[in-house]
């Protein structure tokens, strides 16, 4: 049964959708169907998660909403496809979704061999490890012999193997298809360690029986730049996603927020005017209207607003800006200028 579902779906989408010209302009497709189809996680609080009313929220969700606002003028014109880590790239390359915005790490293999393009980084992360505090472990170097749980089809499987090989330690890797089963198995004690992106640990620990009884070890064993992904071969759509993200970062840098965007459009600062479409027409080169970024910021907010709302210190995830602060504040968020 499941075989039918996974394999036949994969085979059919792979042959059929790859077969039918999936390369055709994604923007035209999106305009014709009136919404952006956005691939997200199956529920990672702060990044992409459904609230009690069924609304999707999160940092990754906001990016899709901003793209919809820029392309269609309506941030709510998004439909979400919850995907497991394992199925996400097939869903994108087969054309089932228009953007993959699902805490996905930008790696060279994925960028160059899977037929995908990464449109930027909306969260700079690294892989971490979490253990029950009762084990009294304080460093990853003490993990020799541990049982470790993670998700299949993620970067984490390779990273953790590399780390243990490099440190000449042994371990067992228990890899589940879905994140909820990882949490459940870790809860029962099947594994001593839960490894994934540190942001993912912050989110998943909220689902544990006793969130405070667990320690995230200090070691960060990899670089996990997470960002939105599109299919390779459609430069226009690639540019749109890339520049919507850049616009959100630039807006934060220039102090443009969802609340003051209308007002700032009349500002004397030419940088702000170009961003908000009152000087020049930067939307045109993307195939969009002049107010593309204005709509994205007005309806969704700038990067900082989205960060604070979804994952920042005042949310349950309590993630400090750290590496994700603007470059002007000593962070890595640096967007090329709109000019």
């Amino acid at each position: 049964m499941k075989l039918n579902k996974t394999l036949v779906a994969a085979a059919v989408t792979a042959t059929f959708a790859l077969g039918a010209n999936a390369q055709a302009g994604t923007l035209d497709d999106v305009k014709a169907k009136g919404h952006v189809q956005c691939g997200v996680s199956q529920g990672l609080p702060g990044f992409s998660n459904q609230d009690d009313d069924g609304n999707w929220t999160g940092l990754d969700v906001d990016l899709c909403r901003a793209v919809a606002a820029a392309a269609l003028g309506d941030a709510s014109a998004v439909k979400f496809s919850p995907l497991s880590a394992k199925e996400r790239f097939t869903a994108l390359s087969s054309g089932e979704i228009d953007i993959l915005s699902r805490n996905t790490t930008w790696t060279m293999t994925r960028d160059t061999q899977l037929g995908l393009n990464f449109a930027g980084v909306n969260y700079y992360d690294g892989q971490g490890m979490m253990v029950p505090s009762s084990l009294g472990v304080t460093s990853a170097k003490e993990l020799d012999g541990a049982n470790i749980c993670t998700n299949t089809g993620t970067t984490t499987e390779l990273n953790i193997t590399d780390y243990f090989r490099a440190n000449d330690m042994s371990f067992q890797l228990v890899a589940f298809e879905k994140a909820d089963e990882v949490v459940a198995a870790y809860n029962t004690g099947r594994c001593d360690v839960y490894t994934t992106d540190r942001s993912g640990l912050a989110a998943q620990r909220l689902k544990l029986e006793n969130p405070d009884g667990h320690t995230v070890l200090p070691e960060i064993i990899s670089k996990e730049p997470l960002g939105p992904v599109v299919r390779q071969g459609d430069d226009q759509w690639f540019n749109i996603v890339k520049w919507v993200h850049n616009a959100m970062v630039n807006a934060e840098e220039m102090g443009v927020t969802s609340a003051n965007a209308e007002e700032m459009a009349g500002s004397d600062n030419p940088n702000i005017k170009r961003l908000l479409g009152t000087e020049g027409n930067f939307g045109e080169s993307l195939g969009l209207s002049a107010d593309w970024a204005m709509q994205a910021i007005k309806q969704v907010g700038n990067y900082g607003e989205s960060y604070e709302r979804n994952v920042g210190p005042n949310t349950p995830l309590k993630l400090a800006r750290g590496a994700n602060a603007l470059w002007t504040d000593g962070g890595l968020m640096y967007a090329p200028p709109i000019r």
């Binding site: 085979a11 077969g19 790239f89 061999q113 012999g145 299949t152 089809g153 090989r165």
Partner: protein, 405 residues
């Protein structure tokens, strides 16, 4: 013939034979063109995305760890050394082993439950009815989760154990540990002796049948066969100087925290495998029970009455008269259940059992990204397994079918 030629194209359309061939050719050409179009589009889209094609990736090394199972033991899987082909073989071996164990357990449980359902004992009958109705009506995926988390919750943690048999056999949340047989030089002879015993057993039973047909004399066939199959290998084993050693599981009470608990030695059945095996066999057994019940009920009552009139004891009647006839009804649908079980084993990935779908269509596919090639290999695995099962069961069916005299 000549007539028709003279009549020209117009008449041809009214020729039924020509028309049917014409349309068949038309459909075939359209189908081929359609497939070619899809294939061409697929290839050009893969090129547009600048993806790799072909099976060269199978030689690349895979850098990720796989949970220790029979599969990893067979390929001696080592991250950074083993290739994607090894990953594939590891996954296939893991799939085959649960499918095989599942078929055996499901058949045994299914037959028992099916016979219970026809029993006159109200408790047995009630139990088997509840069993069948509950298990076949709850989705398999839920049962898989149920058994997995039930098994996990029931077990002591990784640094404790329940001793099932002294130091030799123990269990905790990381698995069931038992001594692992390590065949030494000369053990091959024991296998050979077993093969000889099986062939000998078959020859003996043929001889006994012939003897009975000719003279009416009965030989103790079953006992001779059992004696041969157990005795011959045992004697060989002893003659060869016991060429089998056992690797015992170890258990550390002290040391660094993650080195406590069971060590790497011995044979281990991981909880993922136990849960997949339980769920698949219990679920499939509920369908097999119904098939067995239907099969037995399909044998007319007159058959058992006639048997007792001939003076056969009830259990002999069941064994010699009822079951052989019921088998003819049971075997064909039983085959589909075996096929279902094998295909359903692909649900394993949900609970981290490293079957072929999990390690190859999951982890490896995400590293390599060649969906078409890899999904194709996946389908070939299931196709091959299913076809072999069908062929075997058809052969079996042919052997047991009614011989008209």
């Amino acid at each position: 013939m000549a007539n028709r030629n003279n009549a020209g194209i117009g008449r041809l359309i009214y020729d039924q034979k020509f028309r049917s061939i014409f349309f068949q050719v038309l459909v075939a050409v359209a189908l081929i063109a359609f497939v070619a179009w899809i294939a061409d589009n697929t290839l050009s889209n893969i090129d547009a995305q600048e993806k790799k094609k072909g099976f060269g990736f199978l030689e690349d090394t895979a850098g990720f760890q796989i949970l220790n199972t029979l599969g990893t033991a067979i390929t001696d899987y080592t991250p950074g050394v083993s290739t994607y082909w090894d990953v594939f073989v590891t996954g296939v071996a893991n799939t085959l082993v649960v499918a095989f164990l599942g078929v055996i357990a499901a058949t045994a449980i299914g037959f028992v439950m099916g016979i219970f359902r026809l029993s006159n004992n109200a408790i047995l009958k009630g139990f088997s009815t509840v069993y069948v109705e509950v298990l076949r009506n709850v989705p398999l995926l839920l049962q898989l989760f149920f058994w997995y988390f039930f098994v996990l919750r029931a077990m002591p943690d990784a640094r404790s154990r329940i001793q099932l048999w002294g130091e030799e056999v123990g269990i905790n949340i990381t698995g069931l540990y038992a001594p692992a047989p390590q065949p030494q030089e000369g053990f091959g002879w024991v296998w050979l002796a077993l093969a000889v015993a099986v062939v000998g057993g078959i020859l003996f039973s043929n001889y006994a049948k012939k003897l009975q047909a000719e003279t009416g004399k009965q030989l103790p066939v079953l006992w001779t066969q059992v004696g041969l199959i157990i005795g011959l290998p045992l004697i060989t084993y002893w003659v060869m100087g016991s060429p089998l050693e056992w690797e015992y599981p170890t258990f550390n009470e002290t040391g660094p925290i993650f080195k406590r608990g069971f060590g790497d030695t011995g044979l281990v059945l991981i909880p993922e495998m136990i849960a997949v095996w339980l769920a698949l066999s219990l679920y499939t057994a509920s369908f097999i029970a119904e098939i067995v019940r239907a099969g037995i009920m399909a044998v007319p009552k007159g058959q058992s009455e006639a048997s007792s009139a001939l003076g056969l004891k009830p259990n002999v009647a069941l064994r010699m008269v009822i079951i052989p006839q019921a088998m003819r009804v049971i075997v064909p649908p039983l085959t589909s259940q075996y096929l279902n079980l094998t295909k359903n084993s692909s649900l394993s990935v949900a609970i981290a059992y490293p079957d072929v779908v999990s390690v190859f269509a999951g982890t490896a596919l995400n590293q390599v990204g060649q969906e078409i090639e890899m999904v194709f290999m996946m389908m070939m695995v299931y196709l091959t397994v299913s076809l072999s099962t069908s062929i075997f069961m058809n052969w079996f069916n042919g052997r047991i079918k009614l011989v008209e005299r």
